[in-house]
Symmetry: C2
Amino acid sequence: MAVEVGFTGAVLDRADRERNDPEALAAALGDWRARLLRLNGLDPELDGEGRLVWDSLADLAEGSQPLFLGYIDGRPHFVPLRLGERHGATRSPALFAMLSLMLPDQAGLYACARSLVDWHQRHGYCAVCGTATELFRGGWARRCPNCTAEHFPRTDPVVIMLAEHDGRALLGRQAAWPAGRYSALAGFVEVGESIEEAVTRETLEEAGVAVRDVRYIASQPWPFPSSLMIACIATADDDRITLDTHELEDAIWATRDEVRAALAGDPAARFVAPPRYAIAWSLLTAWVGSGADD
Amino acid sequence: MAVEVGFTGAVLDRADRERNDPEALAAALGDWRARLLRLNGLDPELDGEGRLVWDSLADLAEGSQPLFLGYIDGRPHFVPLRLGERHGATRSPALFAMLSLMLPDQAGLYACARSLVDWHQRHGYCAVCGTATELFRGGWARRCPNCTAEHFPRTDPVVIMLAEHDGRALLGRQAAWPAGRYSALAGFVEVGESIEEAVTRETLEEAGVAVRDVRYIASQPWPFPSSLMIACIATADDDRITLDTHELEDAIWATRDEVRAALAGDPAARFVAPPRYAIAWSLLTAWVGSGADD
């Protein structure tokens, strides 16, 4: 099922081998064509066409370190890590407005840069022994000078899913969301479980709905702070909802016509759809396209 | 495509809500029917029927803490965390023999227990500030008494994939593997990329083979130490291999007949297949079942 997915399509060559090659990294840092992502805290700047704004390495602030993102069209690209800063918890309304304006391939690049910087800012110490760690592999790892443990950026897998029953899909609403917004249920994949088991557990925990026949639809990186969103559809044999009010404020079964109206932004729609850059939008779009209305 | 997948099918009720409920946790700890997994380091013990061996909470060693796994048939199940021990790097040959004997649902339960214990043993300090952390949420998190940061067990998504070209599948061999073993290529999903992008990048990096049309097949938890394996098949338009010798010792294109012979354990097969509990086995099995021989 080919469907548009936000935060994918970046043209970055991550040049994994060069991260371990001090000479290659030095050459990239010495390349006059090298570009440095302009960040305000963890937020980007956009030009009038939805593209990220880049500076040169000469603009690197005192006390910042350049993290090597990779190459675009043969030019090395970096993102600045400002030591001692921490922004992870703050997500400005301005940021979400920018995400809606950003070109898809630019959003993928930004997701990579943001998650990487945020991880460094919250992982300056060794989890094994508590010693302050040092950046290595061009910014793709940290190493402990005391116990030699190596630490790598986290990518947390999250399942996001629609249970489907008799031509309707199960949607939930969290109390903190914008008014009227409903979306797919979601939750972190835990140790010792598969994607399919996580979909089943989370749907049962949050809405009391048992599902079977989990089908994978698509995936997306989500940089708040660094999730891998895994979108699925599963079949429910029963539509009784038992809400976990710690997780959800409400849950509903929506028809394809209702979802279609919400995706179209119809003011008369039953609910407000998630934004287009979220994989929930892609999942709902795939679902309305996947069958006839009942 | 329904195919047997190792480490899945555990009947554990993870009882997520009770992890945050001190009264429920106290009741589980006070339940005389509670069971405690018997571990030697991080290795399990098996009875003659491939089932894990359990003790009672009275057998908890001095200086160990019980981590709450959840309920099986209404009985609380725990795994002991021995503080100060670290076993993560050691994987005994005896363990792999046991994995081959273990019933599938038991392997899923063991995967959960092993990953959880191993994570605690390597994450005793706060990555944000370096202070020693404390266990909370029944063992499903650690909290920093200094900066209040909360830390959750890692689950690292890994793609494992077959490139397919003209009726043959791309297999690789790492130098450290048992003699003759070939398997699917694999690599960690990085921040800022989707599953599909990681499959494409890793196949290009390791074997120089460009792929398109990535199809999801199945997933599996892999407790060494705590990966989520995501198995895919993709299409290659060209069969020229450019090996990254840092990653692979060799790579070959294998026909369905060759893979079938290896999966059957035929001593005359071109290569030795991965073990049945690894998702590479499931992926190869799905692939040989997915099309006619060319």
